[in-house]
Every structure is written in structure tokens, then in C-alpha cells.
Symmetry: C2
Subunit: 225 residues, 2 copies
Amino acid sequence: MPDATIPGSAKGERTRAVIAETALRLFRERGYDETTMRAIAAEAGVSTGNAYYYFASKDHLIQRFYDQLQTDHAVASAPTLATAESFAVRLAGVLHAWLEIARPYHSFAGSFFKTAAEPTSPLSPFSAESSPARDAGIALFRTVVQGSSATLDPQLRDDLPELLWIYHMGLVLFWVHDPSPDQRRTAGLIDRSVPMVDRIVRLSRTRLLRPVTREVLDLVRYLRS
Amino acid sequence: MPDATIPGSAKGERTRAVIAETALRLFRERGYDETTMRAIAAEAGVSTGNAYYYFASKDHLIQRFYDQLQTDHAVASAPTLATAESFAVRLAGVLHAWLEIARPYHSFAGSFFKTAAEPTSPLSPFSAESSPARDAGIALFRTVVQGSSATLDPQLRDDLPELLWIYHMGLVLFWVHDPSPDQRRTAGLIDRSVPMVDRIVRLSRTRLLRPVTREVLDLVRYLRS
DNA sequence: GTCTATAGTGGGATAGAC
DNA sequence: GTCTATCCCACTATAGAC
């Protein structure tokens, strides 16, 4: 036996991984509702009891999917973030990157989305369990802001990444409901809304709009408190 | 004509109503997940099979709840709409009215909200089955706009009600996730966001913001097409 | 601590007799 | 239109093997 220091732990992690990967594969092949825990366990070569030993519920298998998606998104966004300087280009690049890496999962995302939408669910993007993925998402948008050539109100510079993440969540909501082939309408929505966001961010420093900017920032702080 | 011509139909409608009312009562008393179809059927004095004869699924029982809420909302909004002239006051009145009539259902709304969020669900506010409720909602906001003293760009005047309905859906989303007592944070969100909306609507006609207004309206039309 | 096997519960949904 | 009987599956419980 290799590894006597943490007995079984390595093996356990491998079993956990096998179950998670099998589940994800079956979800993609058959859809979420059509994939039973029995089938996942059988296909992974473990007992159903064992599957439940590692994952508290069928829903918990999706947490893996989130983390995977988040990692892939960061990787797919890297080229844009490394080269583009314009805020609008960086933002559009990151959003389109998400669209591309998420595309293969569109049909099955729809079927488990309901679970994520439930307030008490650990899969909700607003839940405590999701805070690592959420923080990673906000961090990505922080990179979008910080690397851009745009000059911003300092306070807005701090809070804008969170606002952009919420904007992204709105796009995801639209995407989930988007029946068009390859979700082209969502792509269109990005292409049409990014320039608006860009323009509004630029205008936020003007005398006319500064009061609104203040109100928005106050609101963000109120909601965080 | 109210008729003896369709025999049994009246009886059927009564059975349907009894089941729906029983279900709503039990949902409020015990919560959605904790109320089984067996319990609903038993309490209503019918068999479970019969309950399924009238309602294709447990979720379908909620459609009744939607309609009820929509009707109550219109009634609760009437006083404000009959008296207030300022756009901000009318909007805030209608939104707070919703908050009040929805309050008793907050805890159970959370548990079935997931169903409504599912794209393929007939309960989704964007579904074809929900279009009557959606249209009624938009009509309510049309009254908010049309009865107000504010002067608006004609095109915006046409599309603003739909935008306000979407804004309302956003507030509902927040409300569902709001754990504060009596959902006070949602009330705070309304109080802080309505002045912003009001200000932005006023500013939409200024030279500086007109391009953004155009873009927003183009976007709305794109999404409708 | 990791895993199997098995037996069982409860609830959404359905089939088919009447 | 209404019933009874049954299916299916998520999930639990448990007892024990390595």
C-alpha cells in the first residue's frame, strides 16, 4: 500500500471524483431528471449507499459542476484580460467566454436550474456554500475593471465588480431561458447591453449623473449591511 | 348561458375548486414541500388519482395562487392609483401594495419558487401559460405611468410599463431570498430604488442620456422580436 | 475511515377498472 | 369523474466487511 500517512483518504478522494465525473457525464448525456442516483452509482461501480456517503444529495453533485465552470471561465477569460485595455472589450470578452464554455451544458443547466433558484438551496449563487464560487466570479470582474484604461470614481471602482457580477447573473438567468440555437439571443443581449453599461459607467462621473451614482452606491452598501 | 346543457361540468368545476382551495390552505399552514398530494386529496375528500385528474401535477396547483395574488394586487393598488399623481409615489405605492398582500405567503413562496424559475415550467413568469398574469401585471404598471403627471418620450411611454414589470420581477426575486423579519429589506430596497428609477426616467429626455434611452428601447424591441 | 448489501420509507405520478 | 392499486425513485437505516 502506498501512503500510510493518511490512510484511505487518497482512495476516498478518487472514489468521490469518479462518482462526480460519472454523474456529470450522465447528466450531459441524459439530462438531470432522467439520471437516477441508482444509475450514477451503478455506472461509477459503487453502491448507491456509497454515493450518498460522499454526496449528501443528488443536488450536491452539481456543486462540482459550478466549480468546474468557474475554473474554465477564468481560463477562457485570460487571453482577453491579458491583451485588451478597453473596459467594454474586456467586459464583452469575459461574458462571451462564459457563453462559450457554458454552451455544452445549456440543456442540462435548465433542468437543475430550479434547484439553484431555491433560496434555501446550497446551490443558490447567493448561499453561503456558494460564496467561494461567488467570490471567484466577483474577482474575475475586478480584474476586468482594474486592468482597464477607464478612469473611475474610486468608490465605484471598489463596488463595480460586484455590480457586474449581478449583471452577469442576470445574463445567466436570460441564458437559461434562451431557446434560440446556440443561445444566440443571449450573445445578442451581451453585444447590445455591454455598450450601454460602458456608456453608463463613463457618464457616472458627470455632474448630471453623479447623484444617481451616489444613490446606487448607497444602495449597494445598504444591501450588503 | 349558465347551463344544464353540459351535465357534470358544474360538478367537476366544484371538485376542482375544492381541491385548489384545500391545497392553498395546506400550503399556507404547512408549507409546500411538507404538503403531500395524498394529504391534499384526503383533506379535500377525493382520491389522489382524482386530484391528478384535475391538476396535471402538484406544481399546477400554484397557478391558482398566481391568479389570486394578481387580483389582490390590483385591488390593493387601486387607492394609490386613484389619488396619487406623482410617478414616484404611484410606483412606490403599487410596489409596497404588492409587498403587503404577498407577505402572508413569503415562507411558502420560497419553497415553490424553484418551480417557477425552471424555464420549461408553466409557472415561469415568462411562459405562455403565465401570459395572462404577465399581461395583467404590465397593465398595472401601464396605469402607473399613464396616470402620472410626468412627461415622457412617447416611445418610452409605450415601453416603460414592461420595463417596470421586469424591475418588479427583480424585486420579487430579492423578496423571495429576503430573510429579514417581514421582509423589511425588500421594503428598504423599494424605498431606495424607486427614487433612482424616478430620477433616471426624468433624465432620460436630457441630451446626455438620450442615446442610452435609445439603446435601451432598441434592446427591449430586440428582446421582444 | 471506506465501502457493500439490503431492506425500507415516503411521496409524486400513473393505469385501468368502474 | 372517480376510485384502488401500483410504479418509480430520492433518500434513509443498518449491519457489517475491510
